[in-house]
């Protein structure tokens, strides 16, 4: 088992005729085919006005509703440009898609405020936007991460960042620790799925034995996660918070990564996590070993 992604995942890509949309659709198809050569998990795509066409074997549909009807897709991967992302998310939800992964970077924050409110009407999960996606190693990936650096295993990974997650995955691999599922939740101020939602899923997942949480400056999500961990999570947790040296008031790349009004500093987040019993890595070079220490601490 794993979370969110499994053998039954069937993906359509919204924005499949764009350069990034097509490339990553091909990559996702190829990754899953390594393990199940006779199955195609990426069943098509949507680009309004290009319905009926085909790109590299992917059927293109005008609407998500049509794509779901024809292909039975339950998951959507979104690459549409930022002005259209909110609409694309809601279109997927309305068509009955269960898992929506929005890769798009640069979505206006008030668009996400509206999306978040509207999504309450639908029984779906949104990951992102501005995220690398999800991977269950050895099964499937829905996103833009390089598949081969991930190894199947028992660490559940939750991160706000992209390349920093790859770095963590690589460090875990060097320590012989694979991942059950790795989820990039995105670096924007409003995201569909929080640390807490995923901590809960990993806690309930029998294949996950430990959790690595990678946060960054800005907001208070990591502090809420720390409170949740101390009350509800029994599995060992390691963590790292990026941005210890970031000055207040400056946005560090991600729209959400900004220290404002003295809130959201790395120091306060690290302290909250430590107080919740989490093993916090001081250095980004020690993300993998923090998980290992958390596991060893539990054993002893």
């Amino acid at each position: 088992m794993s979370i969110l992604v499994d053998e039954d995942t069937r993906i359509i890509t919204q924005g499949i005729t764009g350069k990034a949309g097509l490339f990553h659709s091909q990559q996702c198809r190829a990754y899953a085919a390594e393990f199940r050569p006779n199955e195609n998990i990426l069943v098509g795509g949507v680009t309004p006005g290009k319905g009926g066409e085909e790109v590299d074997g992917f059927p293109v549909f005008n609407t998500v509703r049509e794509a779901v009807g024809e292909t039975g897709a339950n998951t959507s991967l979104i690459f549409v440009p930022p002005p259209f992302c909110a609409d694309a998310i809601l279109e997927a939800a309305d068509a009955g898609i269960e898992l929506i992964v929005a890769i798009t970077e640069g979505v206006p924050v008030l668009d996400m405020s509206r999306v978040s409110y509207k999504l309450q009407d639908y029984p779906c999960t949104l990951i992102g936007p501005n995220c690398p996606g999800i991977i269950t190693p050895g099964v499937a990936k829905i996103g833009i991460m390089p598949g081969y650096i991930h190894k199947p295993g028992s660490v559940g990974l939750i991160s706000k960042s992209g390349t920093l997650t790859y770095e963590a995955t690589w460090q875990l691999g060097n320590l012989g620790l694979g991942q059950s599922t790795a989820v990039g939740i995105g670096g924007d101020p409003i995201i569909g799925t929080s640390f807490i939602d995923l901590l809960d899923m990993f806690e309930d997942d029998p294949d996950t034995e430990a959790i690595l949480l990678i946060g960054e400056i800005g907001g208070t999500a990591e502090i809420e996660a720390a409170e949740y961990i101390s009350e509800h999570i029994t599995k060992p947790v390691g963590a790292f918070i990026a941005g210890k040296t970031a000055p207040p008031g400056k946005r560090m790349g991600h729209a959400g990564a900004i220290i404002s009004g003295g809130q959201g500093t790395a120091a306060e987040k690290m302290a909250a996590l430590e107080a919740a019993g989490v093993v916090v890595a001081e250095s980004p070079a020690d993300m993998g070993s923090a998980v290992k220490r958390a596991i060893d601490k539990r054993k002893s």
Binding site: V109, A242, A255
Partner: protein, 394 residues
């Protein structure tokens, strides 16, 4: 994107949010003329910079001169303008280097009965905009939050419905308003919240929001920040951007599609991905160095992007060494090394360059670096990279 107070107030006025009458002045003569035109017995001369704390801030060459002053004659307006224009104002928010004042805003004085605080931001936790108010006008909201959190009032509102009249009344009565002032507050608060949503603001702060002697609410300040991601639907905001307020290197980086923030240290960094870039800064600091910048070169890392990134980093005269930290994913390490080497030759390096690579095709990439004969220091992992780059300058 930040704008000046006088620009924010112009937008407020257009949205029906009451502001004092005011006139922009860029010379002492204009300041004196503005005073006469306003026609009162009192005016306020306010420095226009993108930073708060102007009233308590002082000028670098003249510690007695404040950034915001009350004047009672055209002459006084002129004399103060002379001491402010072209001079550097230092406030708690500008840092020690301060900011040069190029524009003044001369405003009519008003009869102030009360000073309140108003702020609107998007709350990450509830995913909605939230209107924050407090009876402690003029004080920084962070200070109020720390000392007397019970004085902070909040109303969350839906982006599409806006602040509802009853929510405005909740606040007005909680702030002790009565009679006609409650009705004025209802209007003012619903309008300012509509302004926030209509213009895709990421922050809107009025401190102080005043209640006048005759019970009217007026925005005495206007600190407005727009969501950069939403500027595509507000093309008319572009002329409001004051490039003199922004770090030139950051403007240059933005044009090249790079995300760059200048810092005070001497080790330049070039990294792919924002999280890894922040972590690289942390790593340098952890090993006793000081990062000179944050730089996310993005997913593409083309020759053009890397070349421009190197130029921006090396333009900073504080930089004594550069660390490149790349985790190649979809973008393969060998492709990145090719871009690095081309950029290295184009830019002409005079400081040590440490490169740490990991990820797709890393073996091939390392070999290319070694065989290039260029004076590039390679590192085995993150810690090794940090030690080598810090060691190269000490």
């Amino acid at each position: 994107m930040k704008i000046h107070e006088y620009q924010g107030k112009k937008l407020f006025r257009e949205a029906g949010v009451p502001v004092p009458r005011g006139i922009v002045a860029t010379s002492p003569e204009e300041a004196a003329a503005a005073y006469n035109e306003l026609g009162g017995s009192l005016a306020v001369v306010k420095s226009q910079i993108h930073a708060g704390g102007r009233g308590k801030g002082t000028f670098k060459d003249n510690p007695d001169q404040r950034g915001v002053v009350l004047v009672r004659s055209a002459d006084e307006a002129r004399q103060n303008a002379e001491r402010m224009l072209g001079k550097t104002l230092v406030t708690i928010q500008t840092g020690d280097e301060g900011k040069q004042v190029n524009t003044l805003f001369v405003e009519e004085g008003l009869d102030i009965a009360r000073e309140l605080y108003l702020g609107i931001v998007v709350d990450r936790e509830t995913h909605c905009p939230v209107l924050i108010m407090s009876s402690e006008g003029g004080m920084e909201i962070e200070v109020v939050a720390e000392k007397s959190p019970e004085k902070i009032l909040r109303e969350h509102f839906d982006a599409d419905m806006g602040l509802l009249p009853f929510q405005a009344r909740n606040l007005a009565f909680a702030l002790g308003m009565e009679g006609a002032t409650v009705r004025a507050a209802e209007k003012f608060l619903t309008k300012i919240c509509k302004f926030f949503v209509d213009n895709d603001c990421s922050m809107c702060e009025i401190n102080p929001l005043i209640v006048t002697g005759d019970g009217q609410l007026v925005a005495l300040d206007a600190k407005v920040t727009f969501d950069e991601n939403a500027l595509f639907r507000h093309k008319d905001f572009e002329p409001l951007r004051d490039l003199t307020e922004e770090e030139p290197a950051e403007v240059k980086a933005q044009k090249a599609g790079l995300s760059y923030v200048k810092l005070d240290g001497n080790i330049g960094c070039l990294v792919n991905g924002a999280g890894l870039a922040m972590s690289t800064m942390d790593l340098i600091k952890l090993h006793g160095g000081e990062p000179a910048n944050f730089l996310d070169v993005g997913g593409g890392a083309s020759v053009e992007a890397v070349t421009e990134a190197f130029r921006i980093i090396l333009d900073d005269k504080n930089v004594k060494a550069v660390l490149v930290n790349i985790f190649g994913g979809i973008m393969k390490c060998d492709v990145i090394v090719e871009a690095l080497m081309t950029a290295y030759d184009k830019v002409g390096f005079e400081v040590p360059l440490v490169v740490r690579l990991e990820g797709t095709n890393v073996e091939k990439a390392r070999k290319m670096l070694e065989e290039s004969g260029k004076d590039i220091i390679t590192a085995a992992d993150l810690t090794d990279a940090a030690k080598k780059v810090v060691g190269s300058i000490s």
